[in-house]
Amino acid sequence: MADQTSPSDPRAGFAPSRDPDDVTVAPDGRPMEEQPRWRQDFAIDTPEANFVARRDFTKFLVLTSGAFVAGQAWIAAKSLVRDRRPKPGRMRIASLAALPAGSATMFAYPGDHDPCLLIRMHDGKLLAYSQKCTHLSCAVIPEIDQGILRCPCHEGIFDLATGRNIAGPPPRPLPIIELEVIGDDVYAVGVTASTT
């Protein structure tokens, strides 16, 4: 639409002001006269619609950002609680006589819901790990002859000698159960977890 009043015309001050943005733009950018009738009747200003869509998307992103901070705060709070928890005590888990070389047995340490494995290697060396895979907590199975602990859920593999994650999706080594042998008895005395 062309202006009907020139800037010098006194009527210009009383004419309805027209914002250059105050136009309806179709998605293909062609003038409205070339658009189908339905779009002329129900016209949408595409730049304005895009502006609103992106504003809502940004609000959602900022909300997600807030959720991540809440998650970080939750971990920090859990960290404080964990620091105040007493260290697990000594617990007898097996006798050497009941554990021949090349075998393994299960026990729970430090809690009743923390399954662990005590393994006696062929050379008599004792090893103990948490049985929960560090990927999704499936139970790992010792394969002593192959020198590995295998998680059957997603084929995660840990080194039997060190507990390190050597293949598959597990992100961390298995927590190591510290052992103490007194006479014929094997005791669990602590848990050591690490990220590498």
Partner: protein, 75 residues
């Protein structure tokens, strides 16, 4: 930026600025996601040293995001 200057921007120009803001916010959110996963992994591995710095960094990202959103809403 004064109101007078702001009015000179057309919707299409504002949309370009908004695209920049959205991209920046998106990068910060992805950074926060990475930070959260790394913190969870470290915490589960008994490494508490990263928990508080990660919380501070994530909160900084949120503050930046809120600032960018405010500039977006007032544009």
């Amino acid at each position: 930026m004064s109101k007078k200057t702001r009015r000179q921007l057309t919707r299409a120009q504002r949309l370009t600025v908004i695209y920049g803001v959205v991209c920046f916010v998106l990068v910060l959110v992805v950074l926060q996601l990475w930070l959260l996963t790394a913190t969870v992994n470290a915490w589960l591995g008994d490494d508490d040293g990263v928990v508080w710095p990660a919380l501070a960094a994530s909160a900084g990202c949120l503050a930046l995001n809120i600032g960018l959103l405010r500039s977006f809403l007032h544009r």
